[in-house]
């Protein structure tokens, strides 16, 4: 069963962290990637650039409009994900708990089942 482990980022929370804490996040992700690669559960991961780089394409009155900025203005945004293939939902939750972000108050990992997959190497 495939799950998307969605990392929700809050820049205010991240900025308030100390240098050491931020370094710990970096090495924590490396450690996590090593763990799920070795266990054969990792499919892919991507970290996204800041949403100030986003544009949104939407339809208004039958015409397409392109606007700068994220789809929803909010303090938290979708910062990146891990796509994993694991045995159970309990294991997916366990994996989410190993991501360093899940250990920081104000951040959180959303665990969501995947319903359709297609694309590279599959």
């Amino acid at each position: 069963m495939k799950y998307l482990l969605i990392m929700n980022i809050n820049p205010n929370v991240l900025e308030a962290l100390s240098e050491d804490e931020r370094n710990a996040i970096g090495s924590g992700h490396e450690e996590f990637m090593r763990t799920i690669r070795e266990s054969g559960e990792m499919i892919s991961t991507n970290a996204l650039a800041d949403p100030s780089n986003s544009v949104v394409v939407r339809s208004k009155g039958g015409e397409q409009v392109v606007t700068d900025g994220p789809f929803v203005e909010s303090k938290e945004y979708f910062g990146g994900y891990y796509l994993v293939d694991c045995e159970t939902k309990e294991r997916a939750v366990e994996l989410a708990g190993m991501i360093p972000d899940a250990k920081i108050e104000g951040l959180g990992i959303e665990v969501r089942p995947v319903m359709f997959s297609a694309g590279s190497e599959m």
Binding site: M1, K2, G40, D85, K89, V114, M115, F116, S117
Partner: protein
């Protein structure tokens, strides 16, 4: 055609060759790699020069030779002085019970120390003779992911020091149950994939049937093995009728029964009819008996529902499984009316194992529709559609809900 025949011959011989080599030399992990290389060599060489006179001996010899190379390479790398490799004459005329070897391999690959995903991957590779790439595609994960899974499984086997041999008699029953469960999971993955665009991953179902057929050939007197093979054949027989032209799911009551595979049904019915009197009766036999009753009914209405209810009650006694209870409720609704089925569903509502599942809602929706409570049925279909993680199932459930929408409220 000739290529297909060579390939099926190779896949049949693969576990025999691997078994013979591991029995003689040990090193299951490396021998398994050697077997894969030998299969590759055979695929190209046999296509050019034709199938050798004794293909089994050819494959055993080449696997043993590749194992020698791999062990030498490993030795050189690790400089392990204690790993003394004795040259032995080729294995070509080496006779042991191939049957036992294939069975031993299955027991190894389905060892309880491995996770179900690893058991499946290793069984498909070491016994099924599939390449890692083929297995990865079947499970829609990158090849690298599957490689790790297989490597890890082989590592666990190596570390656990499981000897190459049949498990002790006291463990035999439980270990065979693990093998059958793995084969059942492979079949299910092929028949009703939980994620992904395709409802059927035909090749996995066919591979599960092929492997179960081998086990049945090795243990012809085991009623549960026969039961599992019958269950797969009787379920797979409905495959073509199970989806419409656009991949949409068609429920059994609405399937075109002329598209069911009569030959496969006949084989499944014969298997289960022969197995049941042998006893002891296990869950696969009971499920096969239920599938046979469905397959033999000319229409949904003409199905022998009272007997299906009775069989589900036997199954409930054998295993406390909420999915069985759910199917039992459906069968009761067919004999005693939807209200009786709904009453059983209410009792199931407290089962924590079903809490996040879409199926109780889907069943409730069907029974409410039967009872004529259209609005509640529609709500239940929509709830089930939101909860399922299968795309074809979601389409089906949304379509059922849309059918129940009053015309004036459709936009």
């Amino acid at each position: 055609m000739a290529g297909d025949r060579a390939e099926s011959l190779l896949r049949e011989l693969a576990p025999q060759a691997l078994g013979a080599v591991v029995r003689r030399y040990g090193h299951f992990d490396l021998a398994e790699d050697a077997m894969q290389e030998a299969l590759l060599a055979a695929a190209t060489q046999w296509a050019e020069d034709g199938v050798p006179a004794n293909p089994r001996a050819w494959l055993i010899t080449v696997t043993a030779r590749r194992l020698t190379d791999l062990l030498r390479a490993e030795q050189a790398r690790r400089r392990r002085e204690e790993e003394v490799w004795r040259r032995e004459p080729p294995l070509a005329d080496y006779h042991t019970a191939d049957a036992d070897d294939t069975l031993v391999l299955l027991f190894m690959c389905c060892h309880p120390a491995l996770s179900p995903a690893s058991q499946i991957a290793l069984t498909l590779r070491a016994v099924g003779g599939l390449t890692t790439g083929e297995i990865a595609r079947a499970f829609m994960v990158p090849e690298g992911t599957m490689t790790r899974r297989i490597t890890r499984a082989k590592q666990s086997i190596k570390e656990s020091g499981i000897p190459f041999g049949l498990p002790p008699a006291a463990e035999r029953g439980a270990r065979l149950a693990a093998v059958l469960h793995t084969l059942y999971l492979i079949f299910n993955e092929g028949y009703a994939s939980t994620t992904g665009p395709l409802l059927h991953r035909v090749e996995l179902a066919a591979e599960a049937i092929r492997l179960t057929r081998i086990v049945h050939g090795l243990l012809p007197d085991d009623a549960e093995v026969a039961g599992l093979l019958a269950l797969m054949l009787l379920t797979d027989a409905r495959r073509l009728a199970r989806t419409g032209p656009n991949g949409e799911l068609i429920p059994m009551a609405e399937q075109d029964r002329s598209r069911w595979d009569a030959e496969q049904i006949a084989e499944g019915v014969a298997l289960i009819s022969e197995a049941l009197p042998k006893g002891p009766t296990g869950p696969y036999q009971v499920q096969a008996a239920i599938a046979a009753l469905h397959d033999e009914a000319p229409t949904a209405e003409a199905t022998d529902w009272p007997q299906i209810v009775a069989l589900y009650e036997v199954l409930l006694d054998l295993s406390d499984n909420p999915m069985v209870a759910l199917n039992h409720a459906v069968a009761v609704a067919m004999t005693s009316g939807p209200e009786a089925g709904l009453a059983l569903l209410d009792k199931l509502a407290a089962d924590a194992r079903l809490a996040a599942d879409h199926r109780p809602y889907a069943v409730r929706a069907h029974l409410l529709e039967m009872a004529g409570d259209i609005e509640a049925a529609r709500e239940a279909y929509l709830t089930a559609a939101r909860r399922t993680t299968s795309l074809p199932r979601q389409r089906y459930l949304n379509a059922r809900a849309a059918r129940l929408t009053p015309p004036e409220s459709t936009p």
